[in-house]
């Protein structure tokens, strides 16, 4: 059966698209799925360093599109940690006009024959780079943070994605800070859903472990002890069709822990 092509997009830059792509990809591959990550941010190549694969690039996405004799598989970089995870890097020395939506569509069709999931890292903005990235996708995952500017841009992107004819987009709420939500100084999950009216796919807590893992080029989804890693693994399982309850990020109170201890609470 043909694989699914997902584009990860946000409108606003800096909300964590690339980290999201790397970690959902890693988590899906860890579940045994064949996954390819496509960096569509031409000229601002980043997914390779987040994945820790920057030293192994030979060919990039523009090489593949411009050279008919170069098969895609020769440009794919195999991940060091998981068997079934691959990366198609962006070109660093070209710009967004180096590829066309039509070429992107062909590439996605080819990749979906070989992979269960094709995850496309979309550039920020709503111009040509965005249109290229969404051209071959079935479904969009919208990444936002609980901030006014990011949610506003997410709303705009949801409209554009629907206009492109993609299936109902799903939301990933990134960098939630439970302590601030508790103090009512940050919008909560319900507040953002109230405004955007789309299905929630996952909530990723703000976690300094993400910065540390990105420093090392190790996706945090491989870290079994981190809440953010757990959040990405949950997203992967939901994409697989599993019903996974949303995590609670509150630290349990003394009494809750006591009740758990004596078995009064699950």
């Amino acid at each position: 059966m043909d694989g699914m092509v997902l584009v990860i997009t946000s409108g606003k830059g800096g909300v964590g698209k690339t980290t999201t792509v790397a970690n959902i990809g890693a988590a899906l591959a860890a579940l045994g799925r064949r996954v390819v990550l496509v960096d569509a941010d031409i000229g601002l190549r980043n997914l390779d360093v987040v994945m820790g694969l920057e030293n192994r690039i030979v060919y990039d996405i523009v090489n593949v599109m411009e050279n008919k004799d170069l098969p895609v598989r020769k440009a794919l970089i195999k991940d060091k940690r998981v068997e079934s995870l691959f990366l198609l890097p962006a070109a660093q020395t070209r710009d967004k006009d180096a590829i066309k939506p039509e070429q992107m569509k062909e590439l996605c069709e080819e990749l979906r024959q070989e992979f269960d999931y094709v995850l496309i890292d979309c550039p920020a903005g709503i111009e040509q780079g965005f249109r290229n990235a969404v051209a071959g996708a079935d479904l969009a995952l919208i990444v936002t943070t609980p901030e006014v500017s990011a949610v506003r841009d997410a709303d705009r992107i949801i409209g554009l994605v629907e206009a492109e004819g993609l299936r109902g987009p799903r939301l990933i709420l990134n960098r939630l800070r439970p302590d601030m939500v508790k103090r009512r100084e940050m919008m909560d999950i319900e507040d953002v859903l109230d405004i955007l009216h789309i299905d929630l796919l996952g909530v990723v807590p703000d976690d300094e472990a993400i910065i540390i893992s990105t420093n090392k080029g190790e996706p945090i989804a491989f870290d079994n002890n981190s809440k953010a890693g757990q959040a990405y693994r949950n997203i992967a399982r939901r994409l697989e069709g599993e019903e996974v309850p949303f995590q609670s990020f509150d630290n349990p109170s003394f009494f809750q822990r006591l009740r758990q201890l004596v078995g009064m609470d699950k």
């Binding site: 006014v148 506003r152 409209g159 009512r184 100084e185 940050m186 919008m187 507040d191 405004i195």
Partner: protein, 92 residues
């Protein structure tokens, strides 16, 4: 500082900045969505004409309808619909 914050919140019944964020977003999105979707205002205009025409004869060429910031924290639907004549009997 934290204690001061806490006290001022308890004393003032402060809602926290998240309510402000949410309200500002809801207002700005009313305008964003209307400008992204110009058909929306056109369709609303057509429907309004239909309803009003049952009671009043209006000057379609001079009719104006827009979403405007009402100042502060509101967005208003502002319509200017010149009336030519009041219909004597309501058309069914």
């Amino acid at each position: 500082m934290a204690l001061l914050d806490f006290l001022s919140r308890v004393l003032n019944r402060d809602e926290g900045s998240k309510e402000t964020a949410k309200q500002r977003l809801q207002l700005v999105l009313v305008q964003d969505r209307a400008s992204v979707n110009p058909h929306l205002l056109e369709e609303l205009k057509e429907d309004l004409i239909g309803v009003i025409s049952r009671y009043l004869e209006i000057d379609l060429s001079a009719m104006e309808i827009n979403l405007e910031s009402g100042g502060g924290d509101t967005v208003a639907l502002v319509a200017n619909i010149p009336v030519r004549q009041v219909r004597r009997s309501q058309q069914k």
